[in-house]
């Protein structure tokens, strides 16, 4: 191998900080050639000198501060820019403002529509689900309709007419004082076999029944619906000034039949 060729390869080895063995032929030549050894050493010396004498430069005073300031400006500007298109007065500003408003209204609308069972119906479902989950904590445990009626009259202020619940396979279990929309309301608890059934009564005919389907059974107007595994039947009792619901994990037909008998 020629000196220059070997040197050229060894320059590359030294530039890349490779192991000399990566170019075995050049390495062998180098070991035998003192001239090349000198030249490689010279090259390394030149490189070292250049590095030592030029690697550091005094950074001008204030350059770093200027860069930081510009970055800060950029950061502020970025956020102004990001938000500015939303403002009326910019091109697209009115369009974007209108869009934002329409989207907001749509979201509110969809949200309202998607939760139609708010109010009495939703409350009935939630209370029932909670009682099933937590276990029925009744204030009055009694299967005696007369006793339950008296308790309702004394504690809630109106009669739920509990006598009528003792029909078919339904068994009266007790009662509890509830609150709905600020009104003292009644929960009468029934059982059919092992299935718990809740009867809710709110002392107001104004209470809205929303999100359910209306059905007519005999002369009675009933509303039916379901949420999850629970079915609901709701109705109004004008003579007693009550809005009522019955919730249970029972087939809709069974609930309807039961209410029809009341």
């Amino acid at each position: 191998m020629e000196c220059t060729e070997a040197l050229r390869e060894m320059y590359e080895v030294s530039d890349n900080r490779l192991a000399p063995q990566s170019r075995p032929e050049a390495q062998i030549h180098l070991e035998e050639c003192p001239n090349c050894q000198n030249l490689l050493r010279l090259d390394q010396l030149v490189k070292k000198t250049v590095r030592q004498k030029t690697a550091t430069e005094t950074v001008p005073v204030g350059l770093e501060t200027r860069i930081r300031q510009r970055i800060q400006d950029l950061e502020n500007l970025t956020w102004q820019k990001k938000l500015s298109w939303l403002l009326p007065g910019r091109p697209w500003g009115w369009v974007s403002t209108a869009t934002v408003m329409i989207v907001t209204l749509l979201v509110i609308g969809i949200w309202t529509l998607s939760s139609p069972e708010s109010g009495f119906v939703q409350w009935s479902f939630e209370e029932h689900a909670e009682y099933i989950r937590e276990g029925f904590k009744l204030e009055l445990v009694s299967s005696d309709p007369a006793g339950v009626d008296d308790w309702f009259k004394q504690n809630i202020g109106f009669s739920a007419d509990a006598r009528r619940f003792q029909k078919g396979e339904f068994q009266l279990m007790g009662g509890k004082k509830m609150k709905f929309a600020g009104m003292t309301s009644a929960l009468a608890c029934l059982k059919k076999g092992e299935v718990w059934v809740s009867f809710y009564a709110v002392p107001s005919l104004e209470t809205e029944i929303k999100g359910l389907l209306e059905e007519k059974i005999g002369t009675k107007n009933l509303w039916v619906g379901s949420e999850g595994k629970f079915n609901i039947v709701a109705w109004k009792e004008e003579d007693k000034n009550l809005t009522c619901s019955l919730v249970a994990e029972l087939p809709q037909q069974e609930l309807l039949a039961f209410v029809g008998l009341l």
């Binding site: 220059t4 050229r8 004498k53 030029t54 690697a55 950074v59 950061e75």
Partner: protein
């Protein structure tokens, strides 16, 4: 991601990028040959780096990334005329002559050490400045910044073969310059 980085981005950038300011400025200074251009170049580099900081992969070499940005800006903006760098064959004869001259004074162990220590910083900087731009960039990144040929190819956006030929040629030109200075100063006998 930008939302959550509103407060942390500047400090992350500081830790990763601003710590290299010295080195970045030194390279900029070698490239532009004058102080004002170097400052502008560095400032522009850092702003661009900040804007594109999301593209930087943490854990990779941030200095190389910054220098790639710097090189791009420099090539696009500061260099007077875009020249297609000619591929230069390694000039063996010239290299040989040059090396012999540099070695000439005496062949005792490490005579050059004392010789080279006498060459001043400014002379070496000037010697670098006389190199044509594409050679100067490659040589600075290799000799001064210690990047490998692969890394230099990436930073300059050229092929590995181009890097090799530029460094060979640059090495030769630089040595020629240094030899001239040494001779002018009487450190070497002609």
């Amino acid at each position: 991601m930008p939302e959550e980085r509103l407060s942390s981005k500047p400090s992350e950038f500081e830790k990763a990028a601003l710590v290299h300011l010295n080195s970045v400025f030194a390279v900029a200074r070698r490239m532009t040959k004058n102080q004002t251009d170097a400052e502008d170049l560095v400032q522009e580099t850092y702003l661009k780096a900040y804007r594109f900081f999301h593209r930087f992969q943490p854990g990779t070499n941030c200095r190389a990334w910054l220098l790639r940005i710097l090189t791009n800006i420099f090539i696009n903006k500061y260099r007077q005329k875009a020249r297609e760098p000619q591929s230069v064959e390694f000039q063996q004869a010239e290299d040989y002559r040059l090396n012999q001259q540099l070695l000439a004074p005496n062949r005792n162990p490490d005579p050059e050490e004392s010789l080279w220590s006498q060459v001043g910083k400014e002379q070496i900087k000037k010697a670098l400045e006389t190199l044509p731009e594409e050679f100067r960039l490659a040589v600075v990144l290799c000799f001064v910044e210690g990047f490998s040929y692969d890394e230099i190819a990436e930073i300059l956006g050229v092929r590995l073969g181009t890097v090799k030929s530029r460094i060979h040629r640059g090495r030769l030109l630089l040595k020629t310059q240094l030899l001239n200075y040494a001779q002018q100063m009487g450190l070497l006998k002609e």
